[in-house]
């Protein structure tokens, strides 16, 4: 087993090389050997798939090796594809090796048998399908797909973390995997916010059970039982919230770029989030000033990334349309603020009085 662990430790290096300029020196032989390794890792995956302890040991070894890309046990099963596609995209690969690569990835098998139905043709077909079906509204499908992949990873991490009881080093503050920030930083901020929101929404709806990041999950959850899956979900939500709430600037950007209905939905499901959201709305609201000439609340500082009266009002209305608990929490917060402002019940004196009137109190 030690030998296997040491071999698996080489996988990140192999993938890193396949993405680097070092492949410039590869010939057909090197390439075949690399693909051979990939197939060997795939074989290990098939062999240890049904053995939770070994899975865990291999997964831990892979996770501790490097920050990005995040690799776990399922990566072993996907190894030929990870390696093949990385090499295909790497322009440094010389023609002779590339020809070998194409042959092994694409060429029809000589006997006409053994066609891999899940191979690259299926990928090309799905990509075309995505393009054909995308005629509809918005990038929602893309965000959701990205969110599902992210969740797959986080669950894996959650299950691993459970096993380790968060003992080991490598966990960033408050139980957030160290790779999460790095991965999300690959996306522009509004997009990252969208992906995280979509992932939290999927967890809240609990509708992510049939489609997860890895095919192996079906196997792992049937062994670990339903509860492990639910615990994995809990961990995943925890990770995402700690990323989101761990940085005030990030959270405020999140709340600025997402629509109020979506924020209210998330606030209704995650109490941590609803508290911070209300605090943030409070701080934005307290910076509005009443313009007696226009007869309305305006921003005190125009260019700051904050909400206008109309936007603030919409957000509170959405919160009050949420579940009972959220509505009560929101009203209680507004009433407390109004009392602090002197408990006037006339418009134009306290922004909280006016907001309470707008939401119907």
């Amino acid at each position: 087993m030690d030998a296997v662990l040491r071999q698996v430790e080489q996988l990140p290096a192999l993938l890193a090389v396949s993405r680097s300029a070092q492949v410039r020196h590869w010939d057909c032989l090197t390439l075949d050997r690399a693909l051979e390794w990939a197939r060997y890792f795939q074989h290990l995956h098939h062999r240890f798939r049904a053995r939770p302890q070994l899975r865990e040991a291999l997964g831990r070894r892979l996770r501790r090796s490097q920050p990005l890309p995040v690799l776990g046990f399922p990566a072993l099963g996907r190894c030929p594809q990870l390696l093949g596609l990385a090499l295909l995209e790497n322009r440094a690969l010389p023609p002779a090796a590339c020809r070998c690569l194409l042959r092994s990835l694409l060429q029809p098998p000589a006997g006409g048998s053994g066609r891999d139905p899940g191979g690259l043709p299926l990928l090309a077909r799905r990509k075309a399908a995505a393009c054909l079906l995308a005629s509809g509204p918005g990038p929602q499908g893309q965000l959701q797909a990205e969110a599902r992949l992210l969740l797959g990873r986080l669950r894996e991490e959650g299950q691993g973390a459970e096993a380790q009881l968060l003992r080991e080093e490598g966990q960033e503050t408050a139980g957030q995997p160290r790779w999460l920030r790095g991965a999300l930083e690959q996306l522009p901020q509004p997009r990252a916010c969208g992906v995280v929101a979509a992932a939290l929404a999927l967890l809240a709806q609990g509708c992510d059970t049939e489609q997860t990041g890895d095919a192996d999950r079906a196997a792992s959850s049937s062994q670990g039982g339903y509860q492990a899956g639910a615990a994995g979900d809990g961990c995943a939500a925890g990770f995402l919230l700690s990323w989101l709430l761990g940085n005030q600037e990030r959270f405020s950007a999140f709340c600025l770029c997402l629509p109020s209905s979506q924020l209210a939905f998330l606030a209704g499901h995650y109490s941590q989030l609803s508290r911070s959201y209300l605090d943030l709305l409070t701080s934005w609201g307290s910076r509005l000033v009443y313009d007696p000439l226009q007869g309305r609340w305006v921003k005190s500082c125009l260019d700051k990334a904050e909400l206008s009266w109309e936007e603030l009002r919409e957000r509170f209305i959405c919160l009050c349309q949420g579940p009972a608990l959220l509505r009560e929490q929101t009203q209680a917060a507004l009433e407390l603020l109004r009392t602090r402002d002197g408990d006037f019940k006339v418009r134009g004196l306290s922004v909280w009085t006016d907001l309470l009137m707008e939401v119907g109190y």
Partner: protein
Amino acid sequence: MAQDPTVPKLNFEYWLDKAVEWGQATTLESQKDVCLHLPQLQEFLHQLYEAIKHLQGPTVVIQQFPLIGQLLGRLCWNPFVIGYDESQETLMWCLCCLYSSEPQNAVELKANSWVRSLLCHLLSSSKWESNEAETSAFISALGYTSADYYCHLVKNMVVSLVRELRENQFSGLNIQESISASRVNAISIVCVPLITLPDLAPLLETLLLYHGGSSKEILSSEFLESVNEAFLKKKISLPESVIFSLWLRHLPSLEKATLHLLDQLFSIQLNSLEEVACVIKDSLLPQAASHPAIFRIVNEIFKNALVETGGTSEVLTIIQVFTQLFLQERQNENKQHKFPLKAYFPYHHQPLVRGLVRRPFELPTTYWSQHVKRISDMLKALVEDTNASSLTDLFEIWFLVACFGEWLDIAAEQLVKAAVEPDPVLWLLAFYYCPKNENQQRAQTVVEAQEVYSHLMMLFNCADLSLKDLEAAVHRVTGTEQCCNQQFTTHLLTNFLLFSPGGHKIAQECIYHITEITDTSKEVHNLLIRTAYRFNHSGEENQRTVKLLNELLQKLMLKV
């Protein structure tokens, strides 16, 4: 350069013109035109690959087919082509043939770089749409590949389209929120190349069950035809209700399915009706026929097939098995959802219909002859009513009786097996075998049949028969030109051989004799497999008869 004569001429100009015309297939017209040509294009790509796979290096390929680069390059940017069936695979094989491991000149260097960009375009999560560069970095940071990403993306898109369509369906008449008919139509068109992609199944189902507000068909005919085609070729499987919905809304598909079934049945050798029943059931048509509209159309197509083939006994047997299976399905159905019989046979005398649809096993055997007599009496009254006996009416009545041929076989069997009043039974069979009754021919047929019958019944209990004893009956078969009388007598004679104690011994010899002289072997074979089928289902107590039947069938099988 001279073309290799073994290579079929590949029509590059035609497909290049098409590819240019289509562009990236963004307009409705170009989309429809692409869909129409996808199977042919796939065939072309396949031939192209066969033609270039053994050529030595890209330079030779390009010399032989100078337009290849332009064509393949354009096709790679057409998502309809890439999405279709196995086209993307063949296309990528062709691209590989243009890649050289040791590029010798500028053209080959350029070709290499071009092939790699196209493959990246087809396979990696960047470029097709500009914002996917970030996606690519994100998913690879998570340790995933574009294969994982597109798998999820397509599933999500399918789920959200399904949701959109369902919500719209249920929100009903709310015009403002409803998706426009043109959008649903557009979705159905983009699905055409993707029909065999398993991820799409939920969307196909939802579309096929979707009806817009108006009575006009909302889905594109290209889509409906392609789904039907894929189903008939067994490339996809869909729930029965979805297939029924397809056939109910798209008549050409139902016609095609019925003709496909007939073709299938003609192409196999009918060894037993169990096989026939299996193929028919597999087509889902008897199940679908629970919808009266479907039943009537399928029945109409069968009727035409019967007329076109001149009423051959194979087609009749197929129709009879189909009708039996249809009745079986109807019986299994929930009472509440049952349509009345009149919905299936609206223009027929309902008491006659009710009599015919009774399955023999629903009645005790002792009632069979009584039931046959009732059918015969009703039929006679109908046919001899001079008001209703135009040739068309007569044919319609005859076809109805023919569909339920099981009762005719039972009638003929009752003649030799039970103590029955023979005249009504003989009349019934005479009507079946010669419905036209020109110059009172039927009466003549009945008289002749009576003679044959009484002759056979005299011999019924003779233990020691020879072929010579049957000469009179055999002569009626071999010595007549009138095919209806010939078939009728053959039917009586065969039953005599099967069911009389003395007939067994000479059965082989007698049937051999008849089928040698006349070309009735198909009829006899059909009669025997029908009898065997009935025995297998309702049981025949006389083991000698069963054994003889199997022997006769085996002999005939070699002859047919």
